[in-house]
Amino acid sequence: MTKQIKYVSLIWLGISTGFTAHGASALGASEILSASDQIRGGGLPGVEWDLTITATDADTGGDIRKFVVKATGDQSLAETTFPPRAAGSKLLQRSRNMWYGRPNLHRPISISSRQKMTGPAANGDIASTNYNQDYNAVLLPDDTIEGEPSYVLQLAAKNKWVTYDRIKYWVSKSRLVPLKAEFYTVSGKLFKTASFESKNELLYQGKRQPFVSRMVIRDTLNPDNVSVLDYSDVKLRQYSAADFSVDGLTQ
């Protein structure tokens, strides 16, 4: 964690002192991944954001879900605020463990990250992201996404707890923010793609850093199946261990 912060500080120092894209290309795959994780809340000491997921499906129409997500380290808590029939339900992730709770359920349920308890997105999509912890990264030849030069990373799962087995990940060379991702099954089949926007800002360690503002996930097998994750009201917070307690899920 300290190491990650050190890397990110160095990266941002580099950017702020006018490092060029060429200079930044000296970064290793892990450093690039760590920096892009922070843009999505991974590895930050304490952060909160509002998340709206709009899912569209050709067969079933649309579905809107809203959450308040709190994250620190490898812990996150997502509380549903909309729709009213699901309001108050919570999804807690602590390391590889995940629980789902509702005030009237009285008992947290142990669930897997593959399970969908809070709408169409998988639980792993809602929680904060720490790819650097869960994937081994290898740099591929650079690419350009919508005119923006980008690193291309090949991510392979380090363990069997992650939602996706393999990811191809594009990260902006100049801003170190995620631009695009392709998610593959164990058999190597592409089954989801995602695009990112990072228009939010966060004041972290005295510096402004971008934070993801939109993630659009498309199902490649059913292209009409689209989930749009909008992030807003991002702010740093301080949390205690009790804020992420399992018992708190049903209270």
């Binding site: 809107i64 009213p84 108050g88 602590r94 009237n104 008992r107 897997s112 992650v162 261990a241 049903t250």
Partner: protein, 518 residues
């Protein structure tokens, strides 16, 4: 002026005092507000309305006022002292009186409330559900005793609120329920019933960052078992298998010490039960100590408990996350003896049978639930659980149970009032023997799909006794009508012998209804 010098600095004074002072100048009004900045929030609509009346715009529209309101809260030397309030009204120049009165009396009084309300985080949910039940009693004798309904309509309102006011928080769950029996084989004592009750409430305060105390009526559960949680000495049911029925809260005193990110230590005392909770009558207070642990890919805990009847239990629960889709879990306990009731032949009893707590011998009794959950790529999750309950009825106890029931049924069919009276407790005790399960071995399965096609949830469950070979099947469906409404149905079919565990009351039951959330 008397109005403003109201002995208790009443609200009429607030209105007039503020309006007149505010009319003097903006600055004066700001000073008034400044004097008791916190007052603004305490009666925010009221005070703001007064200001709006005087100035034609809302107080919050004035940046200076907003600033001073935000900074003056802590500066006021005398908050809410009504003696000071009256005393201050003498010996001052009339021109400044209103200002001073508001500054010293009204604003501070409201200041306290403002200070409280400003920091209070309120949340609430309400739910209205109406449902219709059709069911077929399985045992005519029990039906004649309990006068079960075969068709019934229910309407329930459930309100849940929470408030956070650092370092404390509070929750309150109020329930109002009404039911009407529309059809029954035997006329019930009352066709309609209504009740309003508090199902849960609790106040929790942090004494230190890692230490908290709570008191109230709560449902406290842990572990991953769906069918039962043997390690829990307080609650037999998990409340996870019935989509409508709620567990009743019990009264607890609770101290929780989270001494690291991974470990929590908790001391609990269950001091009582609610009037609706008769499951463990006669009630015996229970003390417990629980250690809970959350690791990288596993979690678990240990609990030691002792009731006032000096029965000690040791329980444990553990969940291992094997992959993004697969969980393994266990939940078990060992205790000396059992609180359950067991049938025993006794020649002196009118029917030749009685129920005794035969396991008072304090021999160790084990219960263990082993579970497995797997989520498929399609999103369906399958849970399989096996429960061994040593305190359940063995072959001899099951045979005795059947014979005692036969004797009781025969007595109720006969003409001897004395024998019939003796049969009633025999049947009712057999119905609720205070055991985790009456069977010693049970298999449970659940196939669940949440948010199927963004339209609703489906759950198919089955519990099968490996002892009496009875099975209870259930299908639970919900359909999302709108963001605030859903339809639901819950169908249960019980199969097995006449004295099997799952076919005691009903052959089948179907519930259909709707819920509104607001």
């Amino acid at each position: 002026m008397k109005q403003a010098v109201s002995p208790v600095c009443g609200s009429a004074g607030v209105s007039d005092g503020m309006r007149q002072a505010a009319a003097t100048s903006d600055r004066a009004a700001i000073s008034i507000a400044h004097g008791g900045a916190a007052a603004f929030n305490a009666s925010r609509p009221y005070v703001e309305q007064a200001y709006w009346s005087a100035h034609g715009r809302r107080l919050s529209a004035f940046p200076a006022a907003k600033h001073e309101l935000g900074t003056g809260r802590d500066a006021h030397p005398k908050q809410g002292n009504n003696t000071d309030c009256v005393a201050a009204s003498f010996g001052v120049r009339r021109a400044n009186l209103q200002h001073i009165l508001f500054t010293l009396c009204i604003a501070p009084s409201a200041s306290i409330a403002h200070g409280i309300l400003d920091d209070v985080r309120l949340d609430g949910r309400q739910e209205l559900l109406g449902y219709y039940t059709v069911q077929e009693p399985a045992d005519a004798t029990l039906d004649s005793l309990l006068r079960l309904s075969s068709q019934q309509a229910d309407l329930e309102w459930r309100g849940d609120w929470s408030a956070g006011f650092d370092p404390c928080s509070a929750v309150l769950s109020v329930r109002a329920a009404g039911s009407r029996i529309l059809e029954s084989e035997y006329p019930p004592a009352r066709r309609s019933d209504t009740d309003v009750f508090v199902n849960a409430w609790a106040v929790r305060c942090k004494l230190a960052p890692a230490l908290s105390l709570s008191a109230g009526r709560q449902v406290i559960q842990w572990g991953s078992g769906i069918y039962r949680s043997p390690s829990n000495p307080f609650f037999i049911d998990t409340g996870k298998t019935h989509p409508v029925r709620e567990l009743y809260g019990k009264d607890f005193l609770r101290a929780t010490w989270q001494f690291s990110d991974e470990w929590t230590l908790e001391a609990l005392r269950n001091t009582g039960v609610g009037r609706r909770d008769g499951a463990l009558e006669p009630y015996s207070p229970i003390n417990a100590v629980r250690a809970n642990w959350v690791g990288q890919s596993a979690s678990g805990g240990l609990i030691a408990s002792k009731g006032d009847e000096q029965r000690t239990r040791l329980g444990a629960y553990f969940t291992q996350t094997l992959s993004d889709a697969w969980l393994l879990y266990l939940d078990g306990d060992v205790q000396r003896g059992s609180r359950g009731w067991y049938p025993e032949r006794q020649a002196a009893s009118p029917l030749g049978w009685r129920y005794v707590r035969a396991r008072e011998n304090r021999e160790p009794q084990h219960a263990l639930l082993l579970g497995n959950a797997y989520t498929f790529e399609s999103g369906w999750s399958l849970n399989i659980e096996y429960l061994f309950n040593e305190a359940g009825y063995d072959d001899a106890a099951r045979a005795a149970f059947a014979q005692s029931k036969d004797a009781a049924r025969a007595a109720l069919r006969g003409n001897d009032a004395g024998l019939a009276a003796a049969a009633v407790p025999l049947l009712l005790t057999g119905l609720e023997p205070h055991l985790l399960t009456r069977s010693r071995q049970t298999l449970f399965g659940q196939l669940l799909r949440t948010e199927w096609g963004n339209r609703g949830d489906v759950a198919l469950r089955a519990a099968h006794s490996l002892d009496d070979h009875g099975t209870s099947w259930s299908l639970s469906l919900t359909y999302n009508l709108s963001p605030s409404a859903e339809l639901f149905s819950y169908a249960v079919r019980n199969v097995g012998g006449q004295d099997s565990e799952f076919r005691q009351l009903f052959d089948y039951s179907v519930i259909a209804g709707a819920r509104w959330f607001f």
